[in-house]
């Protein structure tokens, strides 16, 4: 988990990073797991679980269990 001036982000043992917007109170998901629907998951599509996340100036980096590192904006 980490926060900057705008967001709180946390890796909660899921395939996505939970993003909480401090200014408008909204929360949303970010990461490779967002696009996969339930059907995809049933079919066996798998993205890896996010282990660590860092955020700086709206630039988000997440490290996954598979060893991949994803870079996102938020």
């Amino acid at each position: 988990m980490m926060f900057d001036t705008r967001h709180i982000v946390c890796a909660s043992g899921e395939e996505v990073v939970k993003v909480y917007d401090k200014t408008d109170g909204k929360h949303w998901d970010c990461g490779a797991g967002v696009a996969t629907s339930v059907e995809d998951r049933m079919a066996g599509a798998k993205t890896s679980i996010v282990e660590k996340v860092r955020l700086r100036d709206g630039y988000l980096v997440e490290g996954r269990r598979s060893g991949e590192v994803g870079v996102w904006t938020c």
């Binding site: 109170g25 630039y59 490290g63 590192v69």
Partner: protein
């Protein structure tokens, strides 16, 4: 200049100029003015008619190029419909009134009070029908306008995309140019050093010469020679190695590309490790990232190019925590040591291939190294040279007796937490441990002095989770230290007195992350909740539970209680200052 003179005009024109005799020109002139040359026409036609002709003139080209339109209404209908309602109403009213007056005059008073005639009703119906038509047309107009706007938005989005691409290209160029600047700076430094050495040699030879002329020049030399002896004592000149190393200047320009992308858009994915990533941090957007994984490697990445810059080697077990602060990296490992690295000493040439193309010496060097990786192209990022980070290690901090699970670095102070249930404070200038804080002792003391059940360390309360670290997270700011432990407590320490002055109770699982700024302290735990507290308060004011997020966020009290600018928000050091 009357009409009677008309037949004489063509001949008159012919006498005026040879070219005018051509029938085509004459016809052109006369077809426009029917009978007379333009000067004569102007005297005959009124100016208003000329103006009208000029206004209504439509070239054939324009007629051919009438834009295709799929509108269901004609231009005239559209014009009618766009007339202001009030005006047409007014005109209608006027007409009606006049007709009524007319009727009054013709038919007298009898009809006025009588029942509405069929004609009247029909007229009204026609009016209503007309209104309905107009409304339909207006509706149509509105929808076409919306379609137009949609098209425009799509166009603008396209333009935005193009500009965004341009921005990305510019940022790439910027990075390259900055790299060039850095190299030039380094070269200038080297040359200056050489010049200085040369100057020192010259002076030593000049002082050996016995016949000295008393000129201001030699005086100056003398003075500089005097200072030269002091120069020799400076540590920087005695260690050429340190001097030689290239500077790692902080980037002058700030990349802004990511700020213009939609939130949540993907920038890139790096297949960084083959095993679970245990820690990562980066210095700035598109800067340098350091990752550590269970495969026992620590890698340094260039986030701009997405290339591995090298490995940080030295730890004998996997790294559990790390932090990047400018060019200093601190890593804490399961081998109970903390290592500090200086990334500015890394040998990394992101744009080597471009230099090697123009510079023969650089190409030779590359061949000597057996690398030449720049020429392999961009599609396959080359492996980093094995010795890229060989000069990076600064020093090792060894005092913990068990796994280092958390650390935080700020300024010259580093704080680390370990599975040996202690926190240690390090002075990075001296490279020594300054203070050791025993968490168990603090917990025991808190329970004995305050006699409160909550503050007590309860090993039986929750079975020791093998996955949870005893010290889950740390953050230090000046003399304030926040530390989250496996018992779900967050303790705020004063590093000057070495005591806990506040404890936050609330998490039901091990605390895994802690971060605070001047207003908020945010903690995350394995109990799947994130808790927010005012830094000044000793209790949590907001709980962000996974399942309860939406409910809590909706509650206005939470929102304004926490995230509105807080009047009494004081800086973190204030807390410790209030402590004796």
């Amino acid at each position: 200049m009357g009409d009677s003179a008309a037949p004489a005009y063509p001949s008159a024109m012919g006498t005026l100029q040879r070219q005018m005799r051509r029938p085509a020109i004459q016809r052109a002139v006369f077809s426009f003015s029917q009978q007379a040359p333009t000067e004569l026409v102007r005297s005959k036609l009124s100016t208003s008619e000329i103006a009208h002709r000029a206004l209504t003139f439509i070239s054939d080209e324009q007629l051919y190029n009438i834009p295709e339109d799929d509108n269901t209404y004609s231009l005239f209908q559209g014009f009618q419909a766009s007339l202001p309602e009030g005006e047409s109403e007014h005109r209608k009213g006027h007409r009606r009134r006049s007709s009524k007056q007319h009727r009054l005059l013709s038919a007298g008073d009898v009809e006025e009070d009588g029942p509405p005639t069929i004609q009247n009703l029909k007229k009204k119906r026609n009016n209503v029908n007309h209104k309905l038509e107009m409304m339909a047309i207006r509706k149509n107009m509105a929808s076409t306008e919306i379609r137009d706007i949609d098209n425009k938005i799509a166009n603008l989005l396209n333009v935005r995309k193009i500009v965004l691409d341009r921005l990305a290209a510019l940022e790439n160029d910027e990075a390259e140019v900055e790299h060039e600047l850095l190299e030039l700076d380094n070269k200038i430094d080297e040359i200056q050093e050489e010049l200085e050495e040369q100057g020192a040699l010259d002076q030593s030879t000049s002082t050996l010469n016995p016949p000295r002329v008393a000129t201001p020049e030699s005086e100056a030399m003398d003075a500089s020679f005097m200072s030269q002896s002091i120069y020799d004592k400076l540590p920087s000149s005695t260690s050429p190695k340190a001097k030689r190393r290239p500077k790692f200047a902080k980037r002058k320009s700030m990349p802004v590309l990511h700020e213009h992308l939609d939130p949540g858009s993907h920038i890139k994915t790096l297949p960084a490790h083959n095993d679970t990533i245990t820690a990562l941090d980066f210095d700035q957007p598109f800067g340098t990232m350091v990752t550590a994984a269970l495969d026992d490697t620590v890698r340094v990445w260039d986030l701009n190019l997405g290339r591995c810059m090298g490995f940080l080697e030295g730890h004998t077990a996997s790294v559990r925590c790390l932090q990047v602060e400018d060019n200093i990296v601190a890593t804490g490992s399961l081998d109970a040591t903390i290592r500090l690295w200086d990334l500015s000493r890394a040998k990394y040439e992101p744009y080597e291939h471009k230099i090697s193309n123009g510079d023969d010496d650089a190409a030779d060097d590359e061949e000597d190294d057996g690398l030449g990786f720049g020429n392999e192209g961009e599609d396959a990022p080359p492996p980093p040279p094995p010795d890229a980070m060989s000069e990076c290690p600064l020093f090792t901090l060894e005092a913990h007796v068990d796994e280092v699970t958390a650390l935080h670095l700020r300024g010259d102070t580093l704080v680390s937490g370990s599975a040996d249930k202690t926190l240690r404070q390090w002075d990075l200038v001296k490279g020594r441990c300054v203070q050791t804080l025993d968490v168990l002792w603090a917990a025991a003391q808190a329970s004995s002095t305050m006699n409160s059940v909550e503050a007590q360390w309860r090993p039986t309360g929750r079975p020791a989770d093998s996955g949870a670290d005893f010290v889950g997270a740390l953050q230090v700011f000046d003399a304030a230290l926040a530390c989250g432990t496996a018992d779900g407590m967050v303790r705020l320490w004063d590093l000057r007195s070495g005591q806990v002055h506040r404890s936050l109770v609330g998490h039901t699982g091990p605390v895994t992350c802690v971060q605070f700024d001047d207003t908020h302290l945010v903690t995350g735990s394995a109990d799947r909740s994130v808790r927010v507290s005012l830094s000044l308060a000793g209790h949590y004011t907001l709980v962000i539970q996974d399942i309860l997020w939406s409910i809590l966020i909706e509650s206005a009290q939470c929102r304004y209680g926490i995230f509105a600018p807080v009047q009494f928000s004081t800086h973190m050091p204030m807390i410790t200052q209030s402590h004796p």
